[in-house]
Amino acid sequence: MGQRIDVNHENIYYGDFLAVEDVNINIEANKVTAFIGPSGCGKSTVLRTLDRMHELIPGAHVEGEVLLEGKNLYDKDVDPVSVRRDVGMVFQRPNPFPTMSIRENVLAGVRLNNKHISKSDADDLVEWALRGANLWNEVKDRLDNPGIGLSGGQQQRLCIARAVAVHPQVVLMDEPCSALDPISTLAVEDLINELKDDYTIVIVTHNMQQAARIADYTAFFNLKAVGQPGHLEYFADTTTMFNNPQNEEAERYISGRFG
């Protein structure tokens, strides 16, 4: 089962620079929540605080709370490693491990937890994950080829397969489809739809059609001016957001009259 995330009064810094200010958002379990907004408004930044990836950047830190099923991820006693195990992530640019084969890439996360996996279990898992990412047919004959030998789109799908193969509770996706063609995009969207039965999904997207298609809730981030911190402008269920937004900025953005 997926888990819910509640973000309370979150301020996000890069060193001294306050990148995103006072975010409050409730992300429902087993739903898809989309983050939209103009470039530089901090969508990626907020997303990366949900699995404590943000703090890997030197000097970066977070104020406020991020509650995963009520438990604050930023509590002293929480191990970021286990947070990241429960909250998977797919990045904007495809990043397969260059020295690993396609198969090993998919298994990379699982191998960390469990050194000894029987070959047949591994085979099953690889097939499941690759089918889910709509990549199976393209690569099934060359599972032992290096993952970086694939085209950009294929690489990104491989990364999605790798992320879902560890079966996280929450999956964060930062523009996972921006490098994909429509067919692959559709397949990934279907996969997201399917995954939400089991997991909570948060996705950053520039494609509003995509948000409208797949998200249950949509968060609109905005930026008052360049150099100012970004903030969460408006959060609503997707139908309201796209059909009847109660926020002027959001309406202007969605209708393309922005800026």
């Binding site: 998977g88 491990f97 996360g109």
Partner: protein, 318 residues
Amino acid sequence: MSSQDKTALAPSGGKTADKVFRGVAYACGILILVVLAAVFLFLFFRAWPLIGGDQKANSDTISSFTGGKVNTFWGYVLPLLFGTVLISVLALIIAFFISIGIALFISHYAPKKVATGLSYVIDLLAAIPSVIYGLWGGLILVPAIYPFWNWVANHLGWFPLFAGPAANPQRTVATVAVVLAVMVLPIITSMSRDIFLQTPTLQQEAAYGLGATKWEMIKLAVIPFGRSGIVSASMLALGRALGETMAVLMILSPSVTGYSIKILQASQSNAIASNIAAQYPEANDLGVSVLIGTGLILFLITFIVNFVARKITEKAGA
């Protein structure tokens, strides 16, 4: 911005510069071949009397180097070669893991400010001349390390490498290997640190995103990325160890001939480079030929070592 001097597909300026630059680059590439050929040919030419000269005079010369124990070239050079390789390999083994550890410490563990300072210290240490290591090794380390090696000889003496009794003073292969390890350590460290620091953030985040611990992230992203760099750093290090002259010369008590792996005993082995330095000043013409012959062997052995290492790198890179 308004001046559009466009004739479609007009030949571009700078074409000559392009050609010249390319020519110079090629010439410099080929120069490497020429230089190396020159070195090889010269060594071969100077060593020629060993093959084409008066064999009686050759064996007399070699006898004079070895106090009459050996009078053939191979009998002279093979033990030297054995000693050279033994010392260098031991040094590399000691240095390798420590260096990788330090490199990782700097690149991924130490806070940024500390890391910058440490990097600087390591870079500086890479520059400490071998003659200073020779001074330090011969005057400070040799007496200081004796109790340790003596302990090793007493407790691990059953292992042939550590067969006792430990020589006192410890002017032995073991001590020299430690000094050479210290000398090559900064080379491996600074090169692998540079590579580790360049591991793409994307790769590292991919690993973290899967729930990897720091060490697992290093295994998944950093080490594979740096592997060929590590190998080539080790190669450079081995190259330096094989050719190291002054430190060995100033520390080791050399043997005249013979193969031995008793690294805690004195006068068991000698290295080619330090042997050349020791014998060259007093050698006559034919003696220089013999020494250059041994230099040629050293040259060939570094060739082989680097060649093999290179093949390993290629395989790892594939």
